[in-house]
Amino acid sequence: MEHKLTFKDYNEALKQNRLLGLRCQACGAITVPPRMVCGKCASPDMDVIELKGKGEIQTFTTVYVAPEGRQGEVPYIIVLVELDAGPWMMGNLTGIDLGQANMELIGKRVIMSHQVFAGDKYSAGDVARPVFSLQD
């Protein structure tokens, strides 16, 4: 059985700032990031769709202690965003002072771009991730 959307294709699209997801033919639910089957009803029959990447911050953290090889990135902010389409996505938040990284962020609307993690010896290549910024 083939995947309707592989990590490889998702990754390549995200590098073009395109957020791809899967809409279930059986129940209509949207699944992103991609899986073999629908996240809600487990049907493998899904269509690839493009999502807008806009949504609302649900939670956040500012990371001060870096994993090996990423010392140059700290401090950075990780957010969980509820997309307007429904699913939650993990990404980074840019464009604000660290002092603004507080509970006031929760509920703020964001738009999406991307950044590529170049990878390390454990990562099987480079991987793009969503990078959000405040919409205003």
Binding site: F7, N11, P33, G39, Q58, T59, F60, T61, T62, V63, Y64, V65, A66, P67, E68, G69, R70, Q71, E73, Y76, I78, L80, E82, P87, W88, M89, M90, G91, N92, A101, M103, I106, V116, F117, D120, Y122, S123, V127, A128, R129, P130
Partner: protein
């Protein structure tokens, strides 16, 4: 299914970086467990060993084969379990099933790890491997960052102002350190006050250093036998009354339940149902306090306190020895440290010693008859619950 008893336990001290190998650490714990069991290595029919990161910490995979050889359990079947911090609990649950089914009579289970030996930088990288390497790690997710995200979400969801939640979290940590000071097997054996927690360096907002358990090196082992065999070996068998286990995928896919970890609620329900018991019946619980916020979240999902109310309960002493349920009288992961592969076995070691009345008097839960262990791997990738009860 037959009843299954823990007849012997052993554990090394959990410590900072040290020079013994994973094989050596486990061998020490195993021989102590066997000696308590009145059994010999030749009696063991299988070894089920938790070890999450031996490949990275010492370039050693398949440590279970070398451990079996070292202790003289010649050619026995030996399995490795990788469930992050829940590895040893997974191993013990499997051991329970193999003995309960009648396939084996005597199984040695437990775990070993050298997480402290790896150093912070490599440990931070490798512990992040329990998250989604495609969809989470590129964002720079780390193990503390997962629980930091849950902490802010908890504050929002239960409408607890963040500074108030941080005070509650600090109370949890301070309690752990208080008991850890009394536990010769703990890594951190000093008093750390609420104030010291709140002044420690920020790791991932809002978690500060002393909200976070330290990495540790260490091992723990338990010997599981059938009821019939247990009666020949000890007058104090500790029966496994219930087990439960569940898995989860990535954090965002748990969106309906966060900050609750759904997998824990499923696993705990299985264990309570199997044992025919409720949260009120638990005298002690060794739960997964990888971070102070994790304790609050755990205690609620395990049914001890209402959702959003456990911080207040902790401040009122309800999680203390003498409170509603004694939580982490060992010092928990926060004071003992987290040697991932061994942690779950360390919890079973503690419950067993408590039920037998064999721990230091200042942290003994008097008259304890029933105890629970709760272990979470990663962001809910593996969640295990065990309920143990006195067999005398």
């Amino acid at each position: 299914m037959r009843k299954v008893a823990v007849v012997g336990v052993g554990a090394t001290r959990f410590s900072g970086a040290q020079k013994k190998t994973n094989t050596e650490l486990f061998a020490e714990a195993a021989m102590d467990a066997l000696s308590e069991s009145n059994l010999k290595p030749q009696d063991i029919q299988a070894l089920l060993l938790g070890n999450a990161l031996g490949d990275f910490s010492e370039g050693q995979s398949m440590v279970q084969a070398f451990a079996a050889e070292s202790i003289g359990a010649v050619n026995i079947p030996a399995n490795r379990y990788e469930g992050a911090c829940a590895s040893a609990s997974m191993a013990i649950i499997d051991a329970f099933m193999w003995v309960a089914s009648g396939f084996y009579d005597v199984v040695l289970a437990g775990g070993t790890e050298r997480a402290a030996t790896m150093g912070t930088s490599l440990a931070t990288r490798t512990l992040a491997m329990f998250s989604d390497s495609r969809y989470e790690y590129p964002c720079g997710i780390t193990f503390p960052a997962i629980f930091a995200l849950l902490a802010h979400l908890y504050s929002k969801k239960y409408d607890i102002p963040l500074n108030q939640l941080k005070e509650q979290m600090a109370a949890v940590s301070a309690q752990s350190y208080h008991y850890g000071k009394l536990n010769p097997k703990a890594r951190l054996r000093r008093e750390i006050t609420k104030d010291m927690v709140l002044k420690s360096p920020m790791v991932c907002s809002p978690l500060q250093l002393h909200d976070c358990c330290p990495f540790a090196d260490g091992a723990a082992a338990v010997v599981l036998v059938s009821e019939e065999r247990a009666k020949m070996l000890t007058s104090k068998p500790v029966y496994i009354a219930g087990v439960g286990q569940a898995s989860s995928g990535s954090l965002v896919n748990q969106q309906e339940y966060l900050p609750r970890i759904r997998a824990r609620e499923i696993a705990a329900k299985q264990a309570y149902n199997m044992a025919g018991l409720t949260p009120q019946d638990m005298d002690i619980c060794e739960l997964h306090d990888s971070f102070s916020i994790a304790s609050l979240i755990a205690a609620e999902s395990l049914g001890f306190f209402d959702f959003g109310a456990s911080g207040k309960a902790w401040e009122e002493g309800q999680a203390d020895i003498g409170g509603k349920v004694a939580i982490n009288p060992s010092g928990g992961l926060n004071a003992k440290g987290d040697p991932l592969g061994a942690t779950g076995a360390g919890q079973v070691y503690e419950i067993t010693k408590q039920l037998r009345g064999e721990v230091e008097p200042e942290r003994q839960v008097e008259g304890a008859k029933v105890g629970m262990t709760d272990t979470v791997g990663g962001e809910g990738g593996a969640v295990c619950t065990l309920i143990l009860r006195r067999g005398w």
